[in-house]
């Protein structure tokens, strides 16, 4: 058995190890909960930060995402990868938060909000390559409606069908918001 384990591809071994860990989390073992936190904290925090563009809010939402995970782990049936399930749970939590704050509106509903918004970033030299820091700064300046769709599609790699389901909008709206987000980003960068 040990030899067989050693010959397994690394990703398989990690999956198995994670399945054990998830089982322990399900039993409420504190050490397993802490290990899951260590493994996922940066991924979940980054997701929350990219969607909200606010560090303190992102920390609060990360905390809530882990508490929600520990509470709802019993509903994880292993039909998808644990990481996908957890990311979806965290994404929905952020979406709910933005909705409650009434911040998840698309820019056509809040015209006039963006006065001077294009002037806030220094212009890049024509033809210079885009870097990650610049994109992050520009993302922070997008209205939530655009930013959330952009992050869900380009960073979290959800399909438009999945995004439409999560946001309660049509697939076409998701595509349009992504196009508008890109257009704004292109103008900003």
């Amino acid at each position: 058995m040990a030899l067989f384990e050693l010959r397994r591809p690394a990703s398989n071994r990690e999956d198995l190890e994670e399945a054990d860990l998830v089982q322990q989390v399900r039993s409420g073992e504190r050490r397993a909960q802490e290990e899951i936190f260590r493994r996922y904290k940066d991924r979940i925090y980054s997701l929350c930060l990219r969607m909200t563009a606010n560090r303190s809010t992102a920390e609060d939402l990360t905390q809530d995402a882990f508490l929600s995970l520990f509470q709802k782990i019993g509903t994880f049936r292993g039909e998808s990868k644990f990481s996908s399930w957890f990311h979806r749970l965290a994404s929905n939590l952020v979406i709910d938060f933005l909705r409650r704050q009434k911040r998840l509106v698309f820019p056509e509903q809040r015209e006039g909000d963006e006065e001077g918004f294009l002037e806030k970033l220094p212009r890049r030299a024509e033809g210079s390559p885009l870097d990650e820091l610049e994109l992050r700064r520009a993302l922070d300046r997008l209205p939530e409606g655009y930013r959330v769709v952009f992050v869900l599609f380009e960073v979290e790699h959800y399909s438009h069908e999945e995004i439409a389901e999560m946001l309660g909008c049509s697939v076409n709206t998701s595509k349009t918001q992504l196009f508008k987000a890109r257009k704004r980003l292109r103008e900003l960068l």
Binding site: R30, T62, F66, D131, E154, T176
Partner: protein, 228 residues
Amino acid sequence: MRHRCEHNERSLSLLVDGDLAEPEAAPLREHLHECAGCRDEKRRLEELKAVAGRLPLDEASEHLWSRIEARLDEAQAGRGARRRWRVPVLLAAGLALFLVSREGLRELLRAPGPGETPTPAAQRLRSPEQEAEAIGKLAGMLRDPNEDVRASAAEALGLAGPAAAAAVPALIEALRDPSVEVRSLAARALGGLGAEAKASVERLRELQKDADPAVREAAAEALRKLGG
């Protein structure tokens, strides 16, 4: 900045995602051969996509764990406290529903006088209508948005014994509850109902494959009692 054909912007956005249907994609590709502005736009969209795909992770503060752990401790302490009062409170609530009035309650609690034969007051004061009403209320609570309320209702129905037969459909529905605790308690309640709960056998069999060991065990136990 080079001229871009604005009417192509949305199509270009779809094209870089491989999301543009061929009848529209083919002429756009033709156009790209001729239009430097659109070619430039496409290249920039692809660059945007590539950079977004490799955004580095931000590091979450280590202090977050202590905050999470404190909340877990609080929740655990709260659960312990709730467990201590849940059943008495529900029994009291059930009694309140079963009993007609304060006079009834006083009668129930009154110690029998000398030479007086104690009559089981609960039997006198409990009418089938009140019993049905209480069971109906508990069955309705199985759909409450609060997990604790649903769990309490399932637990109370388990304690109500054969009187809970009317709640069998609601209990079967509760076997699909997202909460592990509610699923387990609903399975146990059904197990205690014997022949009245035969309709739940199929769903209990499915529940033996539940991801949670406690739920699987409760389902197996209930099936043993139901002879399923």
